[in-house]
């Protein structure tokens, strides 16, 4: 039972149109072509069309969990809709076996003026549960959703998190063979999120899971196969999760660099080196050297230099600050060479950005900031949930 392929996707493509009027007209044409039983020219793009999903293939067996990642507009949601049969592929073939449960938007079937109780029955029926099944699972649903006293309140007065919780609780009772999850877990609070993941863990072994997430820790935690999409195409597919995550984060490389500040300082050079060799690639726990050349306006006597490390989402994950390290930069208006050693840098493997900023003593004026000046790439095969991997000294009794 474990090794059968439940999902077979073969060369699937879907095109969309950028122009609304044309899109509607093409829609009408497509329906007419269905009536004519004509499948010619499906592979040709009409005016203003583009491939939203282009030639995607993969197979999944029970116990496999495919993480789908990609930038906004990469075609992830479209692919999920194709898998769920909501829309029809323009090319290729999808075969899905077993009970499919798609959590694409959990609150979509709720009627706002009806109560939570009524909506449980409606939503369950829409997902294909029989009335008896829902009755049997009703208590479990209510308990899992934690909506408690709001059960007989109209859904309109629920918070968006509560709606998602209720939706998830219903969907998760389906005991699906194929579970499709589209980023829905982003809304719940931490406690509920953890519960959802535990529940997904429970059904993991006997289920094919396909899920979209922008959170790399989530992907790293759950997925055992990864598919990275970029503009409708697969740019990575395989079981080497760290490699896939690298491919994904490198999609963001191009544009982020920017230089700001009030011009009272100029950073002439930023250099990263490891073991005396200039390189932005290094291993976990390498000693990393940063060299900065900067000229600062004479009026700023004791400027502060700050280095920030950011993840691919541009969230600051680490910093190194001259004033925190009690280093006083004496400025007499001449060019200053700054050298910083970051010993045994314990960033988890992945791609990071480094920003450098020069501020005045009070840290109010930004004299110069090179945002995302360097892309650092930490090599290694382990991918954790956090940006930092503490190198612990363990002992067991």
């Amino acid at each position: 039972m474990k090794n059968d392929e439940l999902v077979v996707v073969d060369g699937v493509s879907k095109k969309f149109c950028k122009d609304l009027k044309k899109s509607l007209w093409y829609g009408l044409n497509d329906i007419y072509k269905e009536l004519k039983i004509d499948s010619s020219e499906n592979n040709r793009l009409r005016d203003d069309e583009f491939w939203a999903v282009n030639n995607i293939s993969f197979n999944l067996k029970r116990g496999e969990c495919l993480g789908l990642i990609g930038c906004n507009g990469a075609g992830k949601s479209t692919l999920l809709k194709l898998l769920n049969g909501l829309i029809k592929p323009d090319q290729g073939r999808i075969e899905i076996r077993g009970r499919v449960c798609a959590m694409i938007e959990l609150a979509a079937g709720f009627n706002p003026v009806l109560t939570g109780r009524e909506n449980i029955f409606i939503n369950g029926a829409m997902l294909g549960l029989s009335k008896k099944e829902i009755q049997d699972k009703f208590d479990a649903i209510v308990e899992f959703s934690e909506i408690g006293e709001f059960l007989d309140t109209p859904v309109a007065s629920y918070s968006s998190g509560m709606k998602t919780r209720l939706g998830f609780s219903i969907a998760v009772q389906m005991e699906p063979d194929v579970l499709i999850v589209d980023e829905v877990l982003a809304v719940g609070d931490i406690g509920f999120n953890a519960k959802c993941f535990n529940r997904i863990r429970e059904i993991y072994e006997n289920t094919v899971i396909i899920f979209v997430s922008h959170s790399i820790p989530q992907i790293a935690r759950v997925a055992n196969k990864l598919c990275v999409l970029d503009k409708g195409n697969i740019v990575f597919y395989g079981q080497d999760i760290p490699k896939g995550i690298n491919v994904y984060t490198s999609l963001f490389d191009k544009t982020k660099k920017s230089i700001t500040g009030n011009g009272k300082a100029t950073i002439d050079r930023i250099d990263v080196s490891v073991n005396g060799k200039s390189s932005v690639e290094f291993d976990y726990l390498d000693n990393v050297n940063i060299h900065i050349e900067v000229s600062i306006d004479k009026s700023k006597l004791n400027p502060v230099c700050c280095i920030l490390i950011l993840n691919h989402l541009m969230e600051v994950v680490a910093q190194c600050d001259s004033s925190f390290n009690k280093v006083k930069i004496n400025n007499i208006g001449k060019k200053i060479d700054i050298n910083i050693l970051l010993p045994a840098l314990n960033l988890n493997p992945g791609n990071y950005y480094m920003s450098v900023s020069i501020m005045d003593e009070a840290r109010i004026e930004v004299l110069s900031q090179h945002f995302a000046a360097k892309l650092l790439s930490v090599k290694g095969c382990f991918v954790g949930m956090a940006p930092v991997q503490l190198n612990g000294e363990w002992s067991l009794n």
């Binding site: 269905e34 694409i104 009524e118």
Partner: protein, 282 residues
């Protein structure tokens, strides 16, 4: 191990494999039964929950329109001839049936329109929407029948044996309206022009249908005679109040044609839905 249900989605036209297409149609209709009821109960119980007057809204339009026409006819603005029995009874039963017809025409598009988010995000048996819509139309008719019953008691209408054919009449009206609605649905979901012109045309249609006047009038114009709603509505009303506008042959003809077109509309609906969903954005 039980055999797992397999679904295949591909780019081929769905009608290329007619056998499995029909099989799926029948299957889906069977499985949609339970969902249809749930959706119908949902629609009915939610439709008046945000109102103060509640289900009175089902009968108010009929009362309102009837009052207008009775008033106009009393004031001799309208001259209505060839009507046996009280005019109020005639108009109110005509209005109730007419509303069944307009509700049926509008129901498929309205249901789909209300459920766009669901259609985009949840894979459920799509037929259930249409069936639930029909259920809602019939339910509203039942509420309106209370109005009919009151009027009947007031005017002391004798119930004849023909009365047992009334449900067939009502079903034919629902069928004809639904067929038009289902055939228009794909176009109406793409282009709002359809919904807008539908509202306009039903007003016009009202005046070429013998609701407030009699079809047995000698100088009734041709449009009324060739209007397919005429035999359905006039016959059903005659069964109700025992008047003499009965057109059995035309009634059967229109009903049979409706059944044929219902199947065609259903096929079109199934072919169109995935394409419609693709065009509705994310």
């Amino acid at each position: 191990m039980t055999k797992l249900k397999t679904r295949i989605y591909n780019s081929e036209p769905q009608l290329k494999d007619v056998r499995s297409f029909i099989q799926l149609m029948i299957n889906d209709l069977k499985t949609s039964y339970e969902l249809s009821i749930v959706l119908m109960v949902r629609n009915i119980s939610s439709q008046y929950r945000q109102t103060y007057l509640g289900s009175l809204w089902a009968v108010l339009p009929a009362i309102f329109t009837t009052s207008i026409f009775v008033y106009l006819s009393n004031k001799r603005v309208l001259s209505i001839e060839n009507i046996e029995g009280p005019y109020v009874l005639y108009v109110i039963s005509g209005m109730v049936l007419w509303q069944v017809f307009t509700d049926s025409i509008n129901s498929p598009l309205n249901q789909a329109d209300k459920s766009i988010t669901m259609l985009k995000k949840i894979m459920f048996t799509r037929e259930a929407l249409i069936v639930a819509g029909i259920g809602e139309v019939l339910f509203n008719f039942l509420i309106r029948s209370i109005l009919l019953v009151i009027t009947f008691i007031y005017y002391d209408v004798q119930i004849t044996l023909q009365f047992i054919f009334v449900p067939i009449g009502v079903m034919s009206i629902v069928l004809f309206g639904t067929v038009i609605g289902v055939l228009l649905l794909p176009f109406g979901l793409l282009y709002r022009d359809v919904g807008k012109s539908l509202t306009m045309l039903t007003t016009l249609w009202f005046f070429i249908t013998p609701v407030i006047y009699s079809s047995s009038n000698q100088d009734v114009f041709d449009l009324v005679k060739y209007n397919p709603v005429t035999p359905l509505l006039a016959t059903t009303r005659s069964l109700l109040i025992g008047s003499n506008e009965i057109y059995t042959n035309q009634f059967i003809l229109v009903t049979c044609i409706s059944i044929l077109f219902l199947v065609a509309g259903w096929v079109l609906f199934r072919l169109a839905i995935p394409h419609l969903v693709s065009r509705m954005g994310s």
